[in-house]
């Protein structure tokens, strides 16, 4: 019991069976999770999955239909948003345009009743920490996108919150800046050593930055885990399909032997796969099989084509098109059944590179064929 208590005090944020219903719509349905102190936690899900509602409940703008939200082990149900030590970076940042940078950051401190001296030191400290020491007297409109981003974070961090919520703050930035800000956010999180809860529909943001990611769909958490776990060991078909790129087949099980299945896809391919997720499929059950493009090896078909065996699935096909993207290049292969299969390839620019219409042999291990019972 005492051990349990000790464990819970380590958490900055806990949600216990939180539900939010709007009429008959279950926006958030029985979500429970806990976030240990100082970690970067992401909630990843398609738009409309309820992640924003969940965040608004943590911030206090909505109250849950049932369940409990605890910050530093204290329930905050009924606490108005301005009394919660949870700060939020809004999707469009919501910096105050009628105040300059200094006033924006000082606003929260003024609300807390800090003295002029304290405000001045704290504002300058936090500007140093986000490495923008000279912008205090600038107007918000004079800042670049990335600077605004950092000011929005500084405005929250100056108040020393228990939890910082970020609601897709990178959505409005262009690609290049977004990539740079991902790294910067992670560094800022380390520097401030505060719990970040990051909401996004962009899986690469979630995977790159987070210690833990929760995959949310239709109001429920499907899986919580480290980015690696989610990517390599998805617990449900939704996670396998949502996180990372993947080839997907629907098929029927034709043979089962200790953890491995043989699947006949609807288009008529046969492949071996490993059973993942809940439920053990029996012969005749429908399954979804997922294979990530980077696990599929593509070779020009020649005399040395490997036959399919227990350690390999092998399919012959024709290169349909090449999607060149530097190190992330990919080919689309049309198999005998007429389906397109994606496979990652290395294109060196030499004569050995695959070209459209080449005959190729694709092979991958059954271990990488993640099969979920439908």
């Amino acid at each position: 019991m005492t051990e349990n208590d000790l464990a819970t005090t380590e958490n900055d944020l806990e949600c216990v069976q939180v539900k939010k219903h709007f009429g008959s719509v279950k926006a958030v349905d029985d979500v429970s999770f806990e976030i240990p102190k100082g970690s970067f936690f992401s909630i990843l899900g398609p738009s409309g999955c309820g992640k924003t509602t969940l965040m608004r409940m943590i911030a206090g703008f909505e109250s849950p239909t049932s369940g409990d939200i605890r910050i530093k082990s204290k329930s905050v149900i009924g606490t108005p948003p301005n009394r919660r030590n949870v700060k939020m970076v809004f999707q469009h940042l919501a910096l105050f345009p009628m105040m300059n940078v200094y006033e924006n950051i000082a606003y929260g401190l003024r609300c807390a009743g800090a003295s002029k001296e304290v405000i001045r030191t704290k504002v300058h400290d936090v500007l140093e920490r986000i490495s923008l020491p000279d912008v205090a007297n600038r107007e918000i409109t004079q800042l670049s996108g990335g600077q605004k981003q950092r000011i929005a974070i500084a405005r929250c961090m100056v108040l020393d919150p228990d939890v910082l919520l970020l609601d897709e703050p990178l959505g409005a930035l262009d690609l290049k800046l977004r990539e740079a800000m991902k790294i910067e956010l992670k560094l800022l999180q380390h520097q401030f050593d505060t719990t970040f809860v990051y909401i996004t529909h962009d899986q690469s943001e979630a995977l790159v930055m987070s210690d833990n990611v929760a995959i949310m769909n239709e109001g429920k958490f499907v899986q919580i885990g480290t980015p690696q776990e989610l990517y390599h060991n998805p617990s449900a078909a939704f996670v396998a399909g949502f996180v990372g790129d993947t080839n997907r087949w629907a098929g029927k099980v034709t043979r089962v032997e200790n953890g491995a299945v043989e699947v006949a896809t609807e288009a008529g391919l046969t492949m071996r796969g490993s059973v993942r997720g809940a439920g053990t499929p029996g012969v005749g059950d429908t399954v979804s099989a997922f294979v990530r493009p980077e696990f599929i090896a593509a070779e020009k078909s020649g005399g040395s084509a490997k036959p399919a065996d227990a350690a390999h699935n092998v399919i012959n096909g024709k290169v349909d098109s090449i999607l060149f993207n530097g190190a992330n290049s990919r080919i689309l292969v049309r198999d005998g059944a007429g389906e397109l299969i994606e496979a990652d390839v290395v294109l060196t620019g030499g004569t050995q590179d695959l070209k459209p219409k080449d005959d190729v042999t694709l092979s991958w291990s059954p271990e990488q064929t993640m099969s979920f019972k439908v």
């Binding site: 911030a59 206090g60 703008f61 108005p80 948003p81 301005n82 949870v86 700060k87 939020m88 809004f90 999707q91 469009h92 919501a94 105050f96 345009p97 009628m98 105040m99 606003y107 929260g108 003024r110 609300c111 807390a112 405005r155 929250c156 108040l159």
Partner: protein, 289 residues
Amino acid sequence: MMQSDIKRLSLILLFAPFALWIFLLIILPHLGMFYISVQEKVGPRMYEFGLGNYINFFTEPIYWNTLIRTGSMSLLVTVLALLLGFPIAYYIAKIAGNRTRGALFLMCLIPLWVSDLIRAFGWILLLRETGIISTSLQWAGVVNTPIEFLYNDAAVIMGLVYTVILFMIVPLVSTLDGMDNAMIEAGYNLGGNGPTVLRRIIIPYAMPGIVSGCIVVFMLTAGSYLTPILLGGKNSSWFTEQIYDQFITRYNWESGAAFGFLLLAFTSLVVWGGLKLSGQTLNSTVARS
């Protein structure tokens, strides 16, 4: 070459009605009025140049007292219109749903479909000694004798606020509408309570709308004639009434014209002072909304 000629021609054609309007209906009459205002009558049909009409205004306390009274009551009307209009505008822009918003806005506009005169008479029907309010108070036994609600400052102010409040609500709704709700939420999230968010975030954000609404309302009120006369009666002492008197009753156009310019100068001065106090410019307020 051709292209730029066509462009220039279309610009001239588009601009011409506006220029004509400004020149013929605004600049020319005002020049004429100004010319009249600096004429002094020295004998029958004998005039000479002089500032006598203006000096007359300052030496006769009744004139400048009326102007001060008009000015201060107009300011009071402006403040009341702002205090009443702001919550209404806030409700329309931020709280009401999309469908009710349109309906509420329309309800604000409906009084404009009826002429000023009819609306003022409507108030008279309500407020006069034999009017609806007085009769129903007697019927309810609250008072024994009929009460005259008309012909006092309160009636004038109420009538004016009612007439001009729409011009306060419209610019306020349009500025508040442009405000991201997240900004208000951010205000709370960072620790502000209701009054702080109102004072530090909503009002500063709405400042251009507030100032532009106040300018329009103040100008309309100070220059209004019908409502103060009808609801205030003979004692309303509105400055426009003085101007009317000079022109029509006394047939003293010179003095009337001078009063007209003094009213213009006075209201402009008040507006300028208001802009300076609120740190806004005409460009950022009236021109924007």
